[in-house]
Symmetry: C2
Subunit: 571 residues, 2 copies
């Protein structure tokens, strides 16, 4: 039990505040002191870009708990603007500086909880320290950015880095009327998903006027008069801007831990066991500063997310109070709004799996988010990664305007429960026309993956089609009207409904790669062809995925009737 | 294999059409004949009310597959307006009447699939056969209702029965400008959820002008001139209306099966095994006409839903083609839109559990559907039913304007996977402010249920509070401003944040029932009280659930700041 124990907590946002609240719920007698270097605790970190974008109008809404409220409700001694300078493990004490007075003092602990978070990386380029170059982590950062936008109304901003914060800031600044250039070193934004799933984001960003500079980095920043910066780019060009947002990633804040000689993991985060204990059993660590076990891969990973931080806080508090509670692993379920699109992911992406040399297969489906015949149905793209031998779900990604969060959540839970792709076929989900389909997108993804495993649907991928050899033939089974809008070079068109009567036109000595718009008619074609003795593969995800993988927009919209039958809805 | 087999399918909507399509995908050589008594196959059954309501404007959108399309794509011999009169099991043939010509003929089968569906019940009251009394099952029914509404513009309609169809039709007719009276025998609409979860629907219906006549039945219908009906009610009143929708439920269509002496189950549906085979191994049956195993209870049940019907069709087709595929059970995941609300359910409800004498406990949470600080957050009510000993999830229900489908889907998958409520605490779901919270409503429900099981939070329910005895005391821990809007009679108010300093005001010889608005502050109060030596229970779901259980609206809105801390969001 933590009865009468002194528990000091360093860092008062997600992990720290959760630990403090849970500790108090479990133990009225513990003495709990929470140190926070900044002015605010328990604020809505993830809401910062939305206040800058004027979507969340009142700043107060971001302050989930003020220090006063936290003190009143949880009897926690909250000390803001208090920087913890050192951990003295031998004497079990902290050296703390009160930033207001400059006073330094020592505070003894029985148990220490580190929740220092992660700090934004500032790449080492000249001029990165200029006043108009911002990172966004705290309320103070947010206030400074918002003040500059409000007061100076700069016409142009450069956002460096296309991850969560970069994308949300690009949107926020566009909402504020700025012309935004987004500079990203990789050839895609949102590195947590695979390139073909990020492609719709590129279209969305450009359609909202964002200048996308992919495969590009910043090489220098010059102050250019009192109100402007000139940003030099690796492509030799430059941009003038009134402000720069540096959002190239975060690194765990491990200085205190490292100086105290706590074990730091290979990935650079504080090493902890399942109880969230560091190498010193009296010191726990939680949140973005720690390394976690990746749920799918089993390897150590840095996965800075709010949900896991909160859960780790609970686990630490439980163990401090003598309860045997374990944090198992992080799955990396995450989502980001990019204008009217949402992009979400759980588990590992294909890039990870490749890097790890892990056996995997993938399927794509593009179903409507609810019954196609009910107004407002919008098509999503869903990618499912799985083990082609045992059907284990390895990861999923989705992008679309609606219902993306639901499908990734459903798959995330299925993964966590150890379900296979075969079991996804049969999950029984809510259906009424305004909410879903009798066969949900998750069921469809399960069908497609299971058909691959069972051998009912041999598939191939866009990257296989690129190097099409002579012993393969591309068969477009869409309608001529669809083909007019564009097809894969070299493809022969026989509409699905004519296929049975035109089998004689097909070569028996070649493998036929069938494709349609989204993959369903291609599957039906393959079933016909393989039963007729042809060797055949279906291009999973169809022409739509092919285009996304090539980084080009689909020209032709799918005719309504074909979309209807392609998504195969019933009832 | 079904190679060369003659497979006859009776009924061409969800189950039948799915069977046909799957059969053809698996076997090009089978001869497949689909008989449908009506004019349409594979139509969007669940969309019918929305076309009447002019939400789905084009009728064609409801026709997922026309007979011609089905024939072209799947080489199925589709015979609409063909009534199957008899099954001759000995000779393995069907007697069929072509309704257009009146011709009767015999059709032999190797395998027969019955997918006759369920027919709307017409209660045996005088006048139920009048021209203006409708049921809604087919496109033809829909056309007739829509024509009457379009042409006669009746000012008033009576909808009898407050289940899915009744609610959707009430909404559709209100959308068309009719004054609607909804007559329901039970004291609640939407009998698949429990009364306190249906209560918000009553408010919603009334706020849209629907006259709710609960606990009421129709005792007779008179034609009252050429354009009107008079509907007599069990309460002695009557209503005049231009049309009546009879939506008091459906019963499985088992006439063909019964006459062929196939086994009929205790619940009145066609009995099938896991392969969807009837008592005659050559005859399969799928869809609303069959009895299924209830996933949670293990008993036989009639659960007419589109998703399960489709899945059963797949399973039947698999087995016909020699694949060993099993339909395990139906969970009853379902959702209904009621104006701006959605109500969804999965698993068993409390009424079922009580009737079965099953051990259960329940918790309620009322979190926001996404981060409360992001614009548009709306509160939902979520009820979780579970086994208080092993934590097994027995059912869940939710009602709210947004995000209800997602949470029930997530819980449905967790149930299907055999997860416990303890595991719901840790499911890792998508979080960004526009989509969720770092602690999702599903996590909250898991926390609450787990706290009950661990003993951290003894709870009680609204029904316990009703018969409050002398050795219990009701403690309202909300703020005075909230209490002004109404509280439970007899409750003493001590705001949570003052509780620690006012413990001396509480009796040590009574059990204290603490409550707040939604249950979180009540929990915190219980933690403080129990650690201070008091016996204490938290009223799960708080004053909000109490009011819903009493069937009264909550008067006072929760102050934003308290809602914020009540939902306990971090980051």
């Amino acid at each position: 039990m933590a009865d009468g124990k002194r528990v000091l907590i360093v860092g008062g946002v997600a992990g720290g505040a959760s630990t403090a609240a849970r500790l108090r719920r479990l133990c009225e007698d513990a003495e709990i002191v929470l140190f926070e270097r900044g002015e605010h605790i328990s604020f809505a970190n993830c809401g910062l870009p939305y206040h800058i974008g004027n979507i969340i109008k009142e700043k107060d809404r971001l302050l989930v708990q003020t220090p006063e409220q936290m003190t009143k409700r949880f009897r926690v001694d909250v000390r803001v603007r208090s920087q913890v300078l050192r951990i003295d493990r031998r004497n079990k004490s902290l050296a703390v500086r009160d930033l207001a007075s400059g006073r330094e003092y020592t505070e003894p602990y029985d148990v220490l909880v580190l929740s220092p978070g992660a700090e934004p990386v500032r790449p080492p380029v000249a001029g990165v320290g200029a006043r108009r170059v911002f990172t966004l982590r705290s309320i103070t950062d947010m206030d400074a950015i918002k003040k500059l936008v409000d007061e100076e109304k700069p016409p142009h901003a450069v956002v460096v880095g296309g991850g969560y914060i970069g994308l949300e800031m690009a949107e926020a600044l566009v909402e504020r009327g700025l012309q935004v250039s987004l500079v990203e070193l990789l050839p895609q934004v949102m590195g947590t998903v695979d390139p073909e799933m990020a492609f719709p984001l590129h279209q969305e960003l450009r359609s909202h006027g964002v200048e996308l500079l992919l495969g590009t980095s910043v090489t220098g920043i010059q102050e250019n008069g009192p109100n402007a910066l000139t940003i030099q780019l690796s492509n030799g060009q430059s941009r003038d801007a009134g402000l720069v947002i540096m959002s190239v990633g975060v690194r765990p804040e491990v200085n205190l831990a490292r100086e105290a000689e706590l074990k730091i993991g290979d990935r650079g985060g504080i090493a902890v066991n399942g109880h969230m204990q560091t190498s010193d059993p009296s010191i726990y660590a939680v949140g973005d500063a720690v390394e976690v076990v990746d749920f799918v891969g089993g390897h150590q990973a840095l996965i800075p997310l709010a949900g896991p931080a909160n859960r780790q806080g609970r686990v630490a508090a439980d163990n401090i109070c003598g309860r045997d509670s374990t944090y198992h692993s992080t799955q990396g379920t995450a989502i980001c709004k990019v204008f009217s699109l949402a992009v979400a992911t759980t588990g590992l992406n294909e890039k990870n799996l490749k890097r790890m040399g892990r056996r995997y297969e993938k399927v794509y489906v593009h179903p409507a988010h609810h019954a196609g015949y009910y107004p407002g149905a919008s098509q999503m793209s869903l990618k499912l990664l799985f083990d082609p031998q045992d059907g284990r779900i390895l990861g999923a990604q989705a992008v679309g305007t609606s219902g993306v969060d639901k499908r990734i959540d459903v798959i995330a839970v299925a993964m966590r429960a150890g379900m296979t792709v075969q079991q996804l076929q049969d999950v029984e989900l809510c259906y009424a026309p305004p909410f879903g389909s009798a066969k949900d997108p998750v069921n469809y993804a399960g069908f497609a993956a299971s058909n691959v495993i069972s051998g009912d649907m041999p598939i191939c991928h866009s990257e296989d089609v690129a190097d099409l050899s002579n012993d393969r033939m591309l068969l477009d089974v869409r309608n001529p009207a669809e083909v007019k809008g564009g097809t894969i070079p070299g493809a022969v068109n026989i509409p699905l409904d004519d296929l049975r009567t035109r089998l004689h036109e097909l070569p028996s000595d070649k493998e036929i790669v069938a494709f349609c718009q989204v993959g369903l008619r291609g599957y039906l074609a393959c079933r016909i062809l393989s039963q007729a003795g042809f060797r055949c593969r279906n291009l999973t995800g169809g022409y739509k995925t092919y285009c996304a993988a090539q980084g080009v927009g689909v020209q032709a919209a799918t005719p309504a009737r074909e979309l209807k039958s392609d998504t195969g809805e019933k009832t």
